[in-house]
Amino acid sequence: MLSFKRIAGSSSSSQAPFSVSAETIANNEDLLTELLLRLPIKSLLKFKCVSKHWLSLISNPHFSRRRISCYSTPPCGLFLIERGSPYAGYQLVALDSNHSKAPFKNLTFVNDISEIKFIQSCNGLLLYFRSLRPGWSGGIYYVYNPTTKQHTTIPEPRRAVGAALAFDPSKSPHYKVICVT
């Protein structure tokens, strides 16, 4: 594996930067982090594949927390079902002017959208219910992060009549799901 050159080293890389300072920034974790914190989420996802170093910085939960609390302006939009499109799923319709900065365009986590029901969105997480029996009489609750495409199943509560999601990343990295039975 290639290692990163030290700051003092002269440009001996196979990819010489246009400025020695650019290399200084890339090799200084603090300087690089400060720069990355100011990028929109779309660019961060794209730049995960610049190098392993960038991937680990961008994926670090501390980085996400700092970015959310200091620099991010959450995108604002609606999920609408677009039938007959190649996606046939939920499309994000932006309600703000910088819609290109929303971290996703559609929700692609489930094949049959007719069996899922959204319950809530909360600071970047979604709570949804997937029906396993007709008439929504039984099923599974999921928490889904559409930016990272990660999801988790909530242990099925017996005869839940409702559920709600609470998540405030500026207060805690943990979310809570409250089920009423």
């Binding site: 990819q15 930067p17 290399e23 794209k46």
Partner: protein, 183 residues
Amino acid sequence: MSSSTDSPTLTTETTQLSPQPDTETAKPTKKITLKSSDNQIFEVEESVAMEFATVKSFFEDSPSTDTVPLPNVTAKPLSQVIEFCKEQIKFKANPDEAQKKKYNAEFVTEKSDKDLVDMIPVANYLEIKDLLDVLNQAVADRIENKSVEYVRSFFGIDNDFTAEEEAALRREHAWAYEGVDED
């Protein structure tokens, strides 16, 4: 010049200061000499030099010096950093957020990528937080729509992923790679 305008309001101080008139006039115009790594000399007003936290603490440690060597800083970015800080002093004296925002935007717009990037380690070394914020945002704005390949060559970074690893990352967030500017 200050004595004629200030004297009516400074009655108590003026009587105390009148025996030593130079303390009143010398203080605001005191110059500090900064020496860049390429041996260029910059004479700046003390108030500007005190914007540089590194220079400020240098003076707190050795108050008798009047030349501060800056071994990590070359002349060009230093002159641009001084230019920025001179303006910030004016905004400190007369706060005008809209004008300050306008000035900061113009300051970065007219700079080349290289100028911006060269100032970042200088602003970091001199601990000028406001400038560092402005520069980081400006560089982020310039690279946000660029391709991964452009960013690698911009920072002189070698791709250390295998082709399979990189393809998997690109698949995971395929939409993030749409609408990339030309390099």
